[in-house]
Amino acid sequence: MKRILYLLIISAVTYGTTSAQDLEDFVSKYTDDNGSGYLQPLSDVFGANMNSGWFRHAKVNKKKFQFYIGLVTTGALIKDEQQTFEANSIYGGTVTAPTIFGSTEAAVNEGPNGLEENFPGGVDYGLLPLAVPQVSVGGLFGTELSVRWFSIDIGDDIGQLDVIGWGIRHSISQYFKLMPVDISLAFYNQSFELGEFVDANARIIMAQAGKRVALVDFYGAVGYEFSTMDIQYDAEVAGEDPTEIRFELEGENSLRFTAGFMLNLGPFKLNADYNIGNTNVFSLGLGFGFGIPKPGVL
């Protein structure tokens, strides 16, 4: 199970360095429903993170080449209700237990006749960041392509971490003269694979709008998002052969609203936005770009 923690840790620190050794037993007693409940917020939060920060203005040139390269950092805010879940008790009924983001304290459920069951603690996080480089190229028939990519060998029996994303958006406002704001429709898809243990995917379709005022592009969007996370690990119970646990978590994210702005400092672009959905996410971006003119200039 330490591999799952690796996922969490790696994403949180922009693929940084920390040791999560010796955590194999972290949720080894969890199987099926309780394992899903424990990790479900990870899928929700991760999906929301991956669906964020894709755009920083709504302008896509009809003919003129435009280019952006930068680092996108997102931070998903973990809600209180994502820090606990109702675990199935072996004595019947349910008991409130920490999720992977919940309290570090184990939950104890007292059963009949002195019996009691224990549920592991979490990492007690209120925020999960993610960072990934992104390149966007546009200007052909009012269409732009975006790509995200990151790959690193984690080692330590974990394997390769691959973050791959792509997106396409098309200018709608190019078809309308004197449109006061830029409008685009977009679809973005991103996957996150960690060895053989985690395969996460997030997709979002959105309508974007934006307008530049002086040096600042203000932008917003409404979108619908989907995410899944396949998890596979060996549950280890002492005295028994390891049991392979596999389950798919479907993100509970759905409708998403975005509002933000980008500061144009010549070729340097600095943007920030906030996303309201099932999981709220803020996004910060810093990059280099050109070919993004003011509205009305195609």
Binding site: L5, I9, A12, V13, T14, G16, T18, S19, A20, D22, L23, E24, D25, F26, V27, S28, K29, L71, T73, G75, I90, T104, E105, A106, V108, G111, P112, N113, G114, L115, E116, E117, N118, F119, P120, G121, G122, V123, D124, Y125, G126, L127, L128, P129, A131, E236, V237, A238, G239, E240, L265, F268, L270, L284, L286
Partner: protein
């Protein structure tokens, strides 16, 4: 202006990477020990059988706990006691259990189950009428030994009688879990 942009870039890159903090996280490891007793009698016969989980088996458990967990040992719980009649190929119809009791490291036996009668129908019997004082005593004794990081053997004993048994076995399963504190270095978010 370039200087301030650079400052922001550095700040972005350092998000989540510059600081880490240590957190004490409660881990839970599940332990399951099975004890099997042969109840080979004909007609109605009494049994008084013992089975021992010895040093090797327990060492596996301790290895699975990885040492670190025990280093931060916090508590142990008895989660379930199960009794199962298996491999019933004959005319056995019922089992009278006088007592199921456990001993740790050769200490005195602690009774967990007394005077239970099972009709053999489904072949599996879950026991809920446990001896509360016995469960708590076993839990405390297990905690004392785990706190010292050493258990060499757990002995289970069952005494009772079986009606018409050939090739019938009694399996007693002791399922417990250990909570330990792991110090984990995590990003300071």
């Amino acid at each position: 202006m370039k200087r301030s942009v650079l400052s922001v870039a550095v700040a972005l890159l350092l998000i989540g990477t510059a600081c880490t903090e240590e957190k004490d996280i409660d881990l839970v490891a599940a332990l399951s020990n099975d004890y099997e007793f042969e109840l080979n009698t004909t007609g109605t016969g009494d049994f008084n059988v013992e089975d021992v989980v010895t040093d090797n088996d327990l060492q596996d458990i301790l290895n699975d706990l990885d040492g670190d967990l025990l280093a931060g040992f916090k508590k142990v719980s008895i989660e379930e006691i199960e009794v199962e009649i298996i491999d019933n190929q004959s005319s056995a119809t019922s089992v009278e259990i006088g007592v199921v009791e456990f001993s740790l490291d050769g200490q005195s036996f602690i009774p967990l189950l007394s005077n239970q009668s099972f009709d053999i129908e489904d072949g599996v019997v879950s026991v809920t009428d446990l001896n509360r004082d016995g469960v708590i005593a076993l839990r405390n004794r297990l905690a004392d030994l785990l706190d010292n990081g050493n258990i060499s053997e757990i002995t289970a004993r069952a005494i009772g009688s079986v009606n018409g048994s050939v090739n019938t076995r009694l399996r007693v399963s002791l399922i417990s879990s250990v909570v330990g504190t792991q110090v984990v270095e995590l990003p300071d978010l």
